[in-house]
């Protein structure tokens, strides 16, 4: 069996989450990978160095077409012949492209798997993680996205795969790429950070939300947010942790002023250690927190910083 993994990269650097998808794919068979975009050549080089990758297929495209679902899905469907499974990490890009490719192949996709039982049987969360379904696919080919936090990523270096060029087929037309606006941040990527400091409704406003930064700086942490904080405009949506945002599982997750709605817990309850600070002792977040402090976060934040500075 050979598996094709569609990789996400940023400016040629393969995302850690995609290395988790390769780890999952390695459990199913030999692994080939596909990289697309203007920086595909650099990405292909990094991908070729990932242990376990046999072949890298690269599509260098500077027209913006590789940003669109239509041609990329058509390409995956075209390439599918040689593969039993098509996998990707559950990124916004993969969620856009893979179901479309699955439709072209007459396959029911299996999104967001957290475990592999055998080549046909997978475990995936449903109802925002309130239940885990084990499903068996009757399709000849499987189209799967992988929840990165459930698979330990493979190493970035040590392999030596061959690189081949492939061409992007024409899509149905009618779809044009206009622009992308990415927000810049010096902090680690939310989904792969070792520590995440998140703020919720309790942060009160945009200005106060920034008070999390000194704490995150001290811990080398990524900053996250609850849906309430995002909806109220304290921070932009790419910070959102939860069912409809990012799914994270860091070693340490610090929830400041987050009540702990089901939809938020779905995005972080697999963290190794959870800390919650909330003034409401009945907040549901305390039911999943390893360590909780009931109190005013604006008092506790500077105390935490001072304590970290002490012996650190």
């Amino acid at each position: 069996m050979t598996v094709l993994v569609f990789l996400d990269h940023e400016g040629g650097v393969i995302r850690q989450a995609s290395r988790s998808a390769i780890a999952a794919a390695s459990r199913l068979g030999d692994v080939d990978v596909l990289v697309t975009g203007p920086d595909a050549a650099a990405a292909a080089k990094s991908a070729a160095a990932i242990p376990g990758v046999k072949k890298v297929l690269q599509v260098t495209d500077t027209t913006g077409s590789s940003e669109l679902a239509e041609p990329v899905a058509a390409l995956l469907a075209q390439l599918a012949d040689g593969y039993t499974h098509i996998l990707a990490t559950s990124s916004a890009t993969a969620k856009n492209v893979l179901p479309r490719a699955a439709a072209l192949l007459d396959v029911q996709p299996i999104p967001d798997i957290v475990a592999i039982n055998d080549a046909d049987t997978f475990v995936r969360p449903i109802y925002a993680g309130s239940a885990l379904a084990t499903v068996k696919s009757a399709d000849a080919k499987k189209v799967i996205t992988v929840r990165a936090s459930s698979f330990e990523p493979v190493a970035a270096e040590g392999g030596n795969a061959v690189i081949e060029d492939v061409a992007l087929p024409a899509g149905p037309g009618g779809s044009t790429f206009v622009s992308t606006e990415l927000s810049k941040s010096e902090r680690p990527e939310l989904e792969s950070a070792r520590v995440v400091v998140s703020g919720g409704n309790g942060m009160q406003n945009e200005e106060n939300f920034k008070l999390l930064e000194p704490l995150a700086d001290r811990l080398g942490a990524a900053i996250g947010a609850s849906r309430a904080a995002v909806d109220k405009g304290f921070v932009s949506n790419e910070y959102q942790v939860g069912q409809t945002g990012k799914i994270v599982a860091p070693e340490l997750y610090i929830a400041m002023g987050i009540s702990g709605a089901i939809q938020h817990l779905a995005g972080m309850k697999d963290s190794k250690v959870i800390v919650a600070v909330n003034k409401d002792p009945e907040a549901p977040i305390f039911q999943v927190a390893d360590y909780g402090i009931v109190g005013d976060l604006f008092t506790i934040l500077p105390q935490l910083e001072a304590e970290l500075d002490k012996a650190g």
Binding site: A103, Q108, S179, Y291
Partner: protein, 249 residues
């Protein structure tokens, strides 16, 4: 122009779902059901386009059991003009639903199909993309802004790390993300009016679609329960525990 909006009846988002004792699924009997929240956003967007004079007719569609007509009535109370119930007791998988919708699109010829980006029961996030693929039409998923002008629609999409803008020629498929709009509540007079709006009832067989699921559910289980930990009195104690007990800093 005409818009088709598919809506799904799911367990209300405020209810915590319970796994059935025999592990065959999640209990829905006697549980409050509502329209999938992302579908409400899709309906709202269609209604706003109608209010702007861009759209002339909104057709709501639901595929599921007979009670899905409640969801269609809600869509019509929000502003959909008529509805179609495609009745089936089979588990509705995105592939089969996309095939039903494709048949309806070929019949009704809408310029736009606006769907919710995912249903909060199976969390598949696939139907819109699959419909676009089957129809070989352009797609804009996870929309946070939609502007229709001159036979095209410009959509701002939520992507990892930011936003992307793409332009689609009509007819096209859009899936709605959370921040596209805030859906309205249906007013009492509109709920009354919705009772008189037309609802067509058909079956997947009428459209020639085989609903047989491709995924069989082996089991459904509760996730491992996380135990509540301990409450601490001070930041000093927390830092000390994180350093010496949990060893994460």
């Amino acid at each position: 122009m005409k818009v088709l909006v598919p809506v799904k009846r799911v367990i209300d988002y405020n209810i915590k779902p319970r796994v059935k004792a025999d592990g065959s699924g999640v209990e829905t009997a006697g549980v409050k059901m509502s329209m999938n929240p992302f579908d409400e956003i899709a309906v709202e967007e269609a209604v706003r386009l109608k209010e702007k004079g861009v759209v002339s007719e909104i057709i709501a569609v639901s595929i599921g059991e007979a009670k899905a007509q409640d969801t269609l009535r809600t869509a019509m109370a929000m502003g959909a003009d008529r509805s179609i119930l495609v009745e089936t007791d089979v588990v509705t998988e995105p592939l089969a639903v996309a095939k039903v919708l494709k048949a309806l699109v070929e019949k009704e010829k809408p310029d736009l199909v606006i769907l919710g980006k995912q249903a909060i029961d199976d969390d598949m996030n696939a139907t819109g993309q699959m419909l676009a693929g089957l129809l070989d039409r352009p797609q804009a998923t996870f929309a946070s802004k939609v502007e229709v002008a001159d036979g095209a629609v410009t959509v701002t999409r939520e992507i990892d790390g930011g936003a992307q803008t793409i332009k689609l020629a009509l007819p096209a498929i859009i899936t709605a993300d959370l921040r596209l709009n805030e859906p309205r509540y249906a007013s009492l007079p509109n709920i009354m009016k919705a009772r008189k709006k037309p609802m067509e009832k058909i079956t997947p067989a009428d459209l020639g679609v085989d609903m047989t699921p491709r995924l069989s559910v082996i089991s459904v289980a509760e996730p491992p329960e996380r135990k509540a930990g301990i409450k601490l009195d001070s930041a000093a104690e927390l830092v000390s525990r994180l350093r010496n007990e949990a060893k994460v800093i």
